[in-house]
Symmetry: C3
Subunit: 481 residues, 3 copies
């Protein structure tokens, strides 16, 4: 109930300021434009070559993820604005990290910035936004910024290892972005959990209950509609996400079509399952908001490699089954088991499980498809296959082994890094929510919520619990009969 | 008041499951990628050739139509999510149908899938979304899925007849998409109506009343703002819609510019008329949300053919007059007359009348413009004109006759198919709302609303009536004086 | 309390009708398509060359600016719909004005319309939307339309003078669009002010207060989330805005990258400062909604000229400092001082100050950068430098002088034109709000609000004051300590 100390109140702006000055210094020392952005360059590149794809991904990062997390009634604005801050913060840091890892930097101590670089930096924001989805409502801005700083570094290193060193095929980055972000977030959530109550009550939302709640005087809950804005923009631009860094152009076209097909199939199966898993055949909002997108995640790693349209439809359908199953059966058990992992937005079911599925698909596809289907394109999808420029010596069984190894590396590195990061974020030197659901919280008056935290982004225990209870109700007793 | 039967509760997911399995089987047998998406293709096609246009239409289908229908307070989430399901469901079915009708399928029993195909499949969702607009709030998900299945088949056949067989010019598809969707929906609404009360009370919304309602504690109604999200995205991307399937490139550029000009003029005239038709000069929300878009529909069929900018401005202005007239004078009479057609979102005034207007314009334009203006492009706009590759023998009077015939075919086929579909949807084997506004409804307790329907998408009679009454009030007594 | 007169009620639609008929006549006399939109043109231009950039700007104008102004609870719908009307109205007028000023018109009494023209017409809507931001809630639709008509004419003339006659570099149009729009709006606000009360109370909104307000039963205020939709779409597409009219292609690519970098840096510094300027380290919603965009405005004039990425980061950081400083220190003083300027949306801090900063940057850049860096591109950025096609004779000091002159011209012309326009709008022949906050307002019953104004767009004094008071509270006593 005491006022936060000066240290607590000013820690966040001072940290941001130091980070931003560091970024500006690093850019001034090492970054320069690539040739296409320099005057008098003869080989002109047309701005609309990559730019529309970049803008699609930009809409996904800012509007899509931002509004997807806006479903918590008292947390919508905080979700959208923290999302914006993390995008701006992480994309600068990711550009630097990728520059430091580049061939050019090792040779000349400097690296280039182009439209492709800022597109990839935008992709690099995604794992942090996914991790944020698992933690939102329980972390302070300070904690999110520190987490973003660490996670970007680890994630970039893992991506470098898997794509550049191991030459695995993860075209749409389902493993290194989606699965990594989800398991990192869950591991942080496990270590940093202080809030026992939420892990007992859960955050399952049931559509039907709300609609008949006598207190909801103003009809449908608008927070859910804001969340649908996020869902729809992610749904629409997912083909761009998976196609962004594909080469050559025919792989890019395949990635667009396969992702689209996978998502249509996934959406139909999700509506089927959400009705089937409800006792009275009703729709569950959270399935529609999240599982309909699982098809795009599940196809990611293989969107450039699939040559039969119906394979994409099939993968989309399986993704929906896994994702809805995760929501209805796995998430409550994760919360209750010895693991005790709380997952606010259910990122495990939208990004974690479908990401792993995508890795498994990449093993199956490399084993099932004859390499000769791909002709010379083969070496752009699997660069280390025998006979290519890189003078690799892999056959399809070797490649499958490497794809399997990639899944394990992503899972282990994300979990370990997440656990360590969680420990760092629990250090008393970092601003934290101070036991908002403890015994004190019940009696805490208004002043009690000021712990040096930006107030709006403080998780308000009592209202949130009430909200959760209202939404939760008898969902767990809903079995299929 | 009894619980729904197992059949009623599980009908919807089982039907979806069967449809999706059928789709996957059909794709596995017949669909393959076109050459641009296959490896080792030498004639590389750049992904951004059609893809940005596709994404614009994608935003219109999902965000535009979804949120346009979100104005019903207790129905917003259902509208947005049913819209998503129908898009995913119909686009697969449309790809198959178009494939079956293709030349390639007749020759080789298989057809190709490319970015152009998925763009056209997205266009094919539009008539179903329009029909849904006429029916929303009164149909179950099961009914919508069955309707989507039938309507897509009929609509694809009619489009094939008018464009491919009869060689009419309907570049922006105003006749075969907008007019067809609207009249199909109205015909279904006529047959399937069970709800007398709503046909008496109507759904006219008046802006001014709401703003001064003492009960609206939280200021402006947010549902209306969500609806404006839909309006704006439709407004923005309408040029892409009309330009999507145009050829050659100069026709595409004309379609963009003409549509844009038509919409600006239509918007100004709509604001003029909405103020003029109100006794105190106020704006009517429903006019702004719907009639501002009529200009895009009305220019559709001729957007590729108009060569004078001011002709587009004129057509936009006329579209606004027809659309606002439809809202203020025609819709109440349609409801009250022996026809008794209820039109929840007023699709007749946004898509029906302007679609017919577009057909009429296409007759006038072909008569007024000298064919020599078009040079060789003539045969891409009117392929059967004398002298072209197709060895057609039409002069401009013949072509005008065919354009007139197209209007009649669309109107008759949509109405007849809609009436038949309405009868099918009234069969007792299909889940229906069971008389929600009847005498029982007043006394129905909570359990009374479970009739084997997804609860959220159940039309809640009492609240909706109250809402309608609140909005309706003294609008009908507003005359111009 | 009397009914509005027929003149008052019908003034707005009659004026719109006259304007629209004038536009159609002018188009019919003077406008024709350019060669790329005409049939049988051999030098085909691909529709996606400029079209995706046009659509990005279109989204900014309609969704971005529309929703950014939707934060006033009782004014959201009016803001979004007036925004739509002004876009449609002004873009036609701007196309005509630019046509009349073109070389072609002087020679042949006619001008061309192409996709580039409608893109520039869309840019021309922006100053009017910015001015509207300063005035919203206090002006009638009639006043906005008249203002839009005058401002477009003045703004087009000023732009012609600065870009075409004086050959200044204002690539992203920060001076002639952003700064002009802001100072024009403020000058109109100064002249037209009738509402003393609002100038005393102000419109500062504090995030934290709302969240703990006992009356806000439904959690976070949704109006603020709608406003965030606007912010995010502006944030996302700002690179397109600054790149739209750049030439050659390398300048366009630079404009994209520099704008993106500037905005990321600006966003991080804004979050730092918003926390730092709050006593308890909380975030201020209005800073996040507006100052995060200042980086895009501040880089505008020099986005094509900057060759070092870190310069963009630096400018973005400075823009954030100026913008937040404007919100916290300048705006209250402007309101209270003898100037007495009310600025509803704080456009001075988002467009005015950063626009001037952009002009100052353009002076510094031209002095600091060696012209030889640009090679032949120099003459596309600074066309009158010695040695170019235009046979100019400027060195970098001359050019800096002209850039400085541009700032002064924009500031003076915007202020003078705004003051004169404000006087015109106070004429009794134009519909105005009739003293809604005067003594009568307190006792005014419902009928009292009908003064011949579209009711929804009437500024409702009492509710708005209460709203402002609720939001305002103890913000002014928040000092940094």
């Amino acid at each position: 109930l005491q006022m936060p100390s000066l240290y607590q109140r000013r820690q966040f702006p001072v940290a941001l300021c130091i980070f931003q000055i560091m970024f500006i210094l690093a850019f001034s020392l090492c970054a320069h434009f690539n040739e296409h952005a320099l005057p008098d360059n003869k080989s002109k590149v047309y701005v609309n070559t990559d730019y529309p794809l970049f803008q699609d991904i930009h809409v996904m990062s800012l509007v899509g993820f931002g509004f997807l997390m806006a479903f918590l009634k008292r947390y919508g604005f905080a979700a959208v604005s923290m999302n914006l801050l993390l995008c701006a913060f992480v994309s600068q840091w990711a550009m630097l990290l990728r520059g430091f890892l580049s061939q050019e930097f090792r040779e000349s101590w400097s690296f280039t910035i182009s439209i492709e670089e800022i597109m990839i930096a935008d992709l690099s924001c995604t794992p942090i936004l996914i991790s944020m989805g698992a933690l939102i409502g329980r972390f302070t801005p300070m904690q999110f910024v520190v987490m973003g700083f660490i996670e970007t570094a680890v994630c970039t290193a893992v991506e470098y290892l898997i794509i550049t060193v191991m030459h695995c095929n993860d075209g749409g980055r389902s493993l290194v972005i989606h699965a990594f972000g989800a398991y990192f977030g869950l591991a942080v959530s496990r270590t940093a959990r202080k809030v026992r109550m939420i892990s007992k009550r859960g955050t399952i939302r049931v559509v039907g209950e709300d609609a008949f709640d006598d207190n909801s005087e103003d009809g449908i809950d608008h927070s859910e509609l804001f969340s649908m804005i996020g869902t729809l923009f992610l749904w629409i631009f997912f083909p761009s996400f998976n196609a962004a860094v594909q080469e050559p152009e025919d792989a890019r076209i395949r990635a667009v079509i396969n992702t689209y097909l996978s998502m249509t199939s996934c959406t139909v199966i999700t509506f089927m399952l959400t009705s089937l898993t409800d006792r009275q055949g009703r729709f569950n909002m959270i399935h529609i908001q999240s599982s309909t997108l699982a098809g795009g995640v599940a196809i990611g790693s293989v969107a450039n490699a699939i040559l039969q349209p119906w394979h994409s439809l099939l993968i989309g359908g399986i993704a929906a089954i896994i994702s809805v199953f995760g929501h209805t059966h796995l998430q409550p058990r994760l919360r209750k088991s010895f693991l005790g992992v709380t997952d606010t937005c259910g990122v495990h079911n939208l990004h974690g499980l479908p990401g792993i599925l995508s890795g498994v698909c990449s093993i199956i596809i490399v084993l099932v498809y004859d390499p000769s289907y791909y002709g010379d394109s083969l070496y752009q999808i699997y660069p280390y296959f025998a006979g290519g420029e890189k003078q690799g010596d892999r056959d399809k069984y070797d490649q499958a082994l490497f794809q399997a190894l990639a899944i394990i590396i992503v899972f282990v590195s994300a979990t370990v890094a997440g656990l360590i990061t969680g420990c760092i974020l629990r250090c008393s030197c970092v601003n934290q929510m101070s036991d908002p659901t403890g015994a004190h919280a019940e009696n805490a008056d208004r002043a009690g919520f000021y712990y040096g935290l930006p107030q709006d982004v403080l998780w308000r225990s009592m209202e949130m619990q009430r909200e959760i209870q209202m939404r939760y109700r008898d969902h767990e007793s809903n079995e299929i009969y």
